[in-house]
Symmetry: C2
Subunit: 422 residues, 2 copies
């Protein structure tokens, strides 16, 4: 049940694109209990592709090979397969007719038909696409060849490859995997507490720490449900406020579920995050049930005109301040019938900042009931990281309030808090 | 001058995180003229790490090994190195004192000091970090060991590894690399035109096609500046409207430069993209010079209250329509002194849609001078892809207008257009 993955493409080697297929394949195979022994990324060169096909087939039960099946001159996978295993390439009639009827190849059929030349013995994985991929059995090992286009790769992996693998390896180790997500928690602090847990709680669990900015994932694998439950309950004793989800749900998803259950609504006002907070909230399908509107008040004028922030407040305290964050949140509540408002004003960098409020300084306003709180944060990272961390932190402030009331408002990078009522 | 990269970590194998270090390393090494022969990703297992260290050192001049240098129990790189090359691990005093003074390990020093045990002969790459990485020379090959935390990896690669590589290999092939970005262009259409170019124009250039949704990157490598210029001019004859940048700049960066030069301003009104358009615009530092405000009018009420969209228009044509898109854009122009307004209303999915306007239908409004245009699009993909494609398309409509006036308003997925004046 141990396989390996081969990703082919100069674009991966020279870092022109991210390998999202590797992430997807790793996740889905692992969650089904399959083990991946190694992942290899190769350039568009027949020699090395051929060499790895021959080597890895000796070490592993199955291989998944991604990329190089397309029509352009740098697509060489089929030639490499032919070389590695001494096979002829034959024109597959089903592939050919799919290519001829595809809209996207209407003007380039002579080039596109190269994709129909596949190794003898290859079993197409699907007839739906013009680049369907195929299965090849060599020395009783299963080699799955898939196109590199992510949408096609993910689809074929899910609908064709996984079911075939499940048939081939019915006795795979059944493991239960639980993915916990934390926010505002340091990996080493978590590790320290975990490694001091009693042996009987610790030993049945395989633990992986995966920082995935700005969250921290903890992937736990065990054979028995109850071992995992005991372990997780132990973690909650120390880390409850930082635990966003036990089901690998993201912060915006958790916010959505909480607000939907309470039938409450949220609106936002952002400056330095420029729409990112609203975008994160609305990345969740169905968010229209609890998200009404967002203001991206990027200029001082727009804060005054749209939210009623007072010109005098900006002049006295500067646009990046507790007071402006509070007036922004208050403005949202006054102009909109929502239960909660979140506001963000700060310096995302790399330019900007003042001696008192350098780049990374962010004020987050939170209004609930008749109250308004503003938190000051000192965040690090590049522009995108600061925007992301500020957006997530504001959502997490709301999350902690919804779950724990006003008990858990302290954060690692918070440097102050002010509040007032309406 | 050919090296290989090894990335170590179960979190990469099982897809828990994306390998951004691989992208960074690939890009920076390639741009300096170094060739990467292969990239291997391994689990946290001493045996296979050790095996690959021994194998790859025979095939390549240098190796860059990333990950497994941390303090947690799954960090095994140093042990694997010791095993592979029969070396002892020794406590490095500089590392140790850096760990003892680091804020983040204040509460976990006993665990953290494991990071100071490095192979004999290892030369630390920096004294600035508590996880600095090191250089090891084996059989006259250079092995660079770097931490997996992206900020540290990128920093060390840039400031320590690249300079050392440049010293080691002064005769590397100097290549000029130009990265072109296209939008709304199909890879096979581009390839078809390219492969029909005259031999003398084509042969000096190495070409890579890299779809990076929603753009398409074309990476051109050549020895002479003039060969690249001739080639690019040939491409422009056919593909000018689709060419976003010859300097690998993204669409929001290009929009920023165009608006700044013209001293003009933009504001936005979004529904189904929920803040993503504003977020993309403001991802560019300095965007406050040309971006004033964005409205995220996620509910019908907010469209009416904030933008002056007429209730009757929504009732007659539905909120996802040409007419509402135009009234949203018009509302932005009327309430704000900006030169351009972009609006988006549609069904991003997966839920929603009507028989006439299924999921993926997006109306984009564009207002300039005294005109308002609305375009209807039929987009495919998941929710995030539809939001991203809609956001990018709206920016591209503005880009083409700024560069070419009203000549190039046709798009692959556009299914209609309406217009009126104020």
């Amino acid at each position: 049940m141990i396989g390996a993955l081969i990703f082919i493409g100069d674009e991966l080697i020279c870092g022109a694109i991210e390998n999202t297929n590797s992430v997807f394949a790793g996740r889905i195979l692992t969650s089904y209990g399959f083990e991946i022994g190694e992942i290899v990324t190769l350039p568009d060169k027949i020699e090395i592709i051929s060499e790895y096909l021959k080597n890895l087939i000796e070490k592993y039960e199955f291989l998944i090979i991604c990329g190089g099946l397309g029509p352009t001159d740098d697509d060489l996978t089929n030639l490499a397969v032919a070389k590695a295993f001494n096979l002829e390439l034959k024109e597959n009639k089903d592939f050919l007719s799919a290519i001829y009827s595809a809209k996207e190849y209407r003007k380039s059929q002579e080039i596109a038909k190269k994709m129909a030349l596949i190794p003898e013995g290859a079993i197409p994985l699907s007839k739906n696409f013009s680049s369907a991929g195929y299965l090849l059995k060599i020395k009783n090992k299963s080699l799955f060849f898939l196109p590199g286009v992510p949408y096609q790769f993910e689809n074929l992996l899910q609908t064709e490859v996984i079911p075939k693998l499940l048939e081939l390896f019915p006795e795979r180790t059944k493991r239960i995997i639980k993915t916990l997500r934390f926010f505002d928690l340091n990996e080493t602090d978590l590790n320290q507490v975990i490694s001091s847990l009693p042996e009987d709680i610790l030993s049945p669990i395989k633990i992986g720490y995966y920082p995935i900015f700005p969250e921290l994932k903890l992937i736990l694998q065990g054979k028995e449900e109850k071992d995992l439950e005991v372990f997780i309950n132990k973690l909650k004793e120390t880390f409850l406020p930082y635990l966003v989800s036990e089901k690998d749900k993201s912060l915006p998803q958790v916010i959505g579920e909480l607000l939907k259950t309470r039938e409450e609504k949220l609106a936002t006002a952002e400056s330095c995050t420029g729409g990112m907070l609203a975008s994160i909230i609305t990345s969740v399908s169905g968010s229209s049930l609890y998200f009404d509107r967002g203001f991206v008040t990027y200029s001082p004028e727009s804060k005054i005109e749209l939210l009623g922030v007072k010109k005098e407040t900006i002049e006295k305290f500067d646009v990046v301040s507790y007071e402006v964050a509070m007036e922004m949140a208050e403005g949202v509540r006054k102009k909109t019938k929502v239960d909660y408002a979140l506001s963000i004003t700060g310096f995302a960098g790399p330019t900007g900042g003042t001696p008192e409020n350098p780049v990374g300084t962010v004020y987050i306003g939170f209004s609930y009931k008749n109250k308004i709180k503003a938190f000051r944060f000192s965040l690090s990272g590049d522009r995108n990281q600061i925007q992301l961390l500020a957006s997530y932190t504001s959502l997490d402030i709301l999350r902690r309030y919804l779950l724990y009331g006003e008990s858990f408002f302290s954060y690692r990078f918070a440097t102050g808090i002010k509040e007032r009522t309406f």
